[in-house]
Symmetry: C2
DNA sequence: CTGAATTTTCAAAATAAATTGAAAGTAAAA
DNA sequence: TTTTACTTTCAATTTATTTTGAAAATTCAG
């Protein structure tokens, strides 16, 4: 397979993959394009390569910057803005995990904590099962939290890799 | 907060939470309703509680059964079908993880493996970066795989919990 | 078998999400 | 300051997803 073909394939698949995880197709594709672009590129480059509108590119790029996955690059002498993506996949994963945890997991756990304090007799069958389910989810969330923390804190890949190998 | 209110709140939030993860709101809500229902319930119960159509309930219930999160229950003497959800959250998570891994992660890793075999000089800057990015994602996928395997294989919650505590 | 109860299907309708493109906004250059 | 190159915004449109509901299929009791 040729490089250009492989890049195309990657961009398209990464986009499809993203949709399964609540990320919009175009944002994932722009991210993929930036990942496989050696040098920083402009909004016009993205428009052309993915055949999408200027507004679309602009909005999604801003989102990607918000996620900390892409940054603006100033090229001296050039008027246009250039963009580049973090290429270290470990860092990429770390950022996504941190951000999703903050945006989704933390608020959910906060809510569950409130829901646990339901009125009534704790011995009641209905109440008991409810608090058990809620408590279970909270506990699971806590576990996930710990795992993610480990991943995030483990600066060195080998560290986690080796821990994991022990129990494989 | 009253139990009924808390249940309502949980169902609605669980639905919203689901949408961030590529799960449709109604399916997540049906799942939530089943999680907080002590006894098995019918399609009509679900229709009524969530005020959604029969067809909608039927399709989403089938999907949930496909994920192994819900099962049909035959109540002797009753003509209608009843449904119930797995209440052990650890098992629920395990099933979701296994299934998503099979449906999404495995195919992606397979594709990346193909893309690594790109034609041309491995010393070329463009090719080098491409294979590095692809290789990085594959490696990350492999790590995730291992982690998920550990979670899935760890029948006893405390086992993983304790491993994790060591590095917290 | 017959027919009532129940489940399933799926085309059409409703809703939600993504995309466009042109106008408004900004900032550097002249 | 004015012009010009570029970026941002957002109402309108397009596209994708979800939901409905009635018809078809299935199941089971009599």
């Amino acid at each position: 397979m040729k490089l250009s073909e492989a890049k195309q394939q990657f961009i398209s698949s990464w986009g499809a993959f993203g949709t399964h995880w609540g990320i919009n197709r175009t944002m994932a594709q722009i991210h993929a394009l930036l990942l496989v672009s050696v040098d920083p590129i402009t909004q016009d480059d993205i428009m052309e390569q993915l055949t999408i509108s200027r507004g679309n590119v602009n909005m999604n790029i801003r989102d990607l910057i918000g996620w900390g996955l892409v940054e603006r690059v100033i090229i001296t002498g050039e008027r246009k803005e250039y963009f580049t993506a973090e290429k270290d996949i470990w860092k990429v994963a770390t950022k996504i995990i941190k951000e999703r945890k903050k945006r989704e997991l933390d608020p959910m756990i906060k809510l569950l904590t409130q829901l646990e304090n339901v009125e009534g007799d704790k011995k009641d069958k209905d109440i008991k099962q409810f608090t058990e389910v809620i408590g279970g989810i909270k506990k699971l969330g806590g576990q996930a939290d710990k795992m993610l923390d480990i991943m995030v804190k483990a600066e060195e890949n080998w560290f986690t890799a080796n821990i994991l190998k022990m129990w494989k």
